[in-house]
Every structure is written in structure tokens, then in C-alpha cells.
């Protein structure tokens, strides 16, 4: 079972992402966090296989989460997908340079989320 941590301050977006992954037939366990700080604590505890994070969140943002995970020897190998309403090309480049494996803009279809997760995990799900 692939452990996926979904980080978004919007409960409905967390639910949308979780449903999108499960409805495509992936066998995943979903964990949720409402901001970057909570995500770091949960990730340190459960060691997820994959993280999907929003960018603009109160407290620790998605950008800082990516940087913190990349700097943590125990978490830097965890693939992080940034899912944001911000379509700026420079923002996507910054996040990819900081260690994110992919940058998708909302609303991403379930198929695109599944494809991105499978690609990042080498087809494991």
C-alpha cells in the first residue's frame, strides 16, 4: 500500500485529491495535513512514499515544505508534487529547482494525478 500525504489548507481539496487517487484504482493510504508544519511532523512519523502539497497555505507554505524536506536527510528522497492554482512559469521553475518532482496546476484531473504519482514512483502503484 502506497502512503500518500496530502497537504492543503482546504479540506475539500484534500478530499478531492484523495478521491481522485482512489477512484483511479490505486492502492493508497491517504494521510492529511493542513499546512507545512503539520506535514513535516506527519512525514517524519509515517515516512510517506509520496507527498502532494498546495503552495499557498497559512503558516508554513508549500515552498518552505519542499525546501525543508529536501534539507532533511530522512525525507529528501520522498517525491513531492506541488499542486497549485498559481500558473506562473517562474514559480514552477523555482519549486522544481528546490526539489519538487512535479508541478501541476489546479484543477488537475484524477488521471493526471495518477500518472504523475506512478511516474514518480517508477510505476510501483
Amino acid at each position: 500500500m502506497t502512503r500518500v500525504l496530502v497537504v492543503d489548507d482546504s479540506p475539500v481539496m484534500r478530499r478531492y485529491v484523495a478521491r481522485s487517487l482512489t477512484m483511479t484504482g490505486l492502492e493508497v493510504s491517504i494521510y492529511e495535513a493542513g499546512n507545512g508544519s503539520d506535514a513535516i511532523a506527519i512525514a517524519s512519523d509515517i515516512r510517506p512514499d509520496f507527498v502532494i502539497t498546495d503552495l499557498n497555505m497559512p503558516g508554513m507554505s508549500g515552498s518552505e515544505l519542499v525546501a525543508r524536506m529536501h534539507a532533511d536527510p530522512g525525507l529528501r528522497r520522498v517525491p513531492v508534487l506541488v499542486l497549485s492554482a498559481d500558473r506562473g512559469r517562474s514559480r514552477a521553475s523555482e519549486l522544481l529547482d528546490a526539489g519538487a518532482v512535479a508541478y501541476l496546476t489546479k484543477p488537475a484531473t484524477p488521471e493526471l494525478l495518477r500518472h504523475t504519482l506512478m511516474t514518480a514512483l517508477g510505476g510501483r502503484p
Binding site: 489548507d9 475539500v12 478531492y16 499557498n56 497555505m57 497549485s84 500558473r87 506562473g88 489546479k106 484543477p107
Partner: protein, 143 residues
């Protein structure tokens, strides 16, 4: 019609279709003659301003049910508000990037606006549900 209006109309149509599998029919400036749920997003960068989305209560509930693949009767009021915020967030980012593709903006967390009947006239309204305008969208530059 301005390039900003064209970008807004195209972006709203695209979002509504991809998120909710509905068609948004542009209705021009109008007042939503119903109680509404609305949210706004402030942005800054090359331009500063505010983006506002308002939905009739009925449409907001229907869209939330579509988004979460649930029956409208199962939807909680907090989920309706959260979905409206997310719609404002996504629409704002999409409209600005369509209008100014090379610009970089910062976005504030979406805020709820006062709910209830609004006498405001929206610069852009759309019909998604019953044929009458039930979505209003405004973008204000320089606020």
C-alpha cells in the same frame, strides 16, 4: 470587450467544464437575484487587485456536490464555503496567467465575503444551472 474580460470569460468556462463538467454561458453584466455565497482572493505583483466570485446558494451546493462526487443533501455548509473559496483561488490564478502569461503574482489565502442577498451588479455573470445568471465574477485592479 477588453483582453482581461476575454481572458476571464475563457478561464471561467474552462474551469467550470474541467472541475464540474458543466457549461458556463456568459450573460454579461447583471445582478444575481438570489442569496449568494462569495469569496475573494487578493493578488499582488506587476498589478495589485482583488478577484471575487459569487454563487447563488443553490448553485454553490450543486457545484460542491459535483466536486466531491456526493449528493447535494450530503453536503455540509462548511464544504460549500470551502469549495467556493477554492473556486475563487483557481479562477484567479487561471485568469491572471491567461491575461499576463509571463507575469508572476503572489496570492493571498481566499477570504469569505458577507453572505446573503447582494445588490451588487457583477461585471461578468454566467449561467451554469437554471438558465438565469447564477455565478458572478469581478476582478478589480489597483485596489
Amino acid at each position: 470587450m477588453s483582453s482581461l474580460s476575454n481572458a476571464l470569460i475563457a478561464a471561467v468556462g474552462q474551469i467550470v467544464e474541467s472541475m464540474y463538467f458543466r457549461q458556463a454561458v456568459y450573460s454579461g453584466p447583471s445582478t444575481l437575484d438570489a442569496s449568494v455565497i462569495s469569496a475573494s482572493v487578493s493578488f499582488s505583483g506587476p498589478l495589485t487587485g482583488k478577484f471575487r466570485v459569487a454563487l447563488t446558494s443553490r448553485l454553490a451546493r450543486e457545484l460542491t456536490a459535483d466536486f466531491l462526487v456526493a449528493e447535494p443533501s450530503e453536503i455540509l455548509p462548511s464544504e460549500v464555503i470551502s469549495t467556493t473559496r477554492e473556486l475563487a483561488n483557481i479562477a484567479c490564478g487561471t485568469v491572471l496567467s491567461a491575461w499576463l502569461p509571463s507575469a508572476a503574482f503572489d496570492f493571498e489565502t481566499p477570504q469569505d465575503l458577507e453572505t446573503g442577498h447582494t445588490p451588487d451588479c457583477f461585471a461578468h455573470t454566467f449561467a451554469l444551472s437554471c438558465g438565469d445568471p447564477d455565478m458572478g465574477v469581478d476582478i478589480r485592479i489597483g485596489s
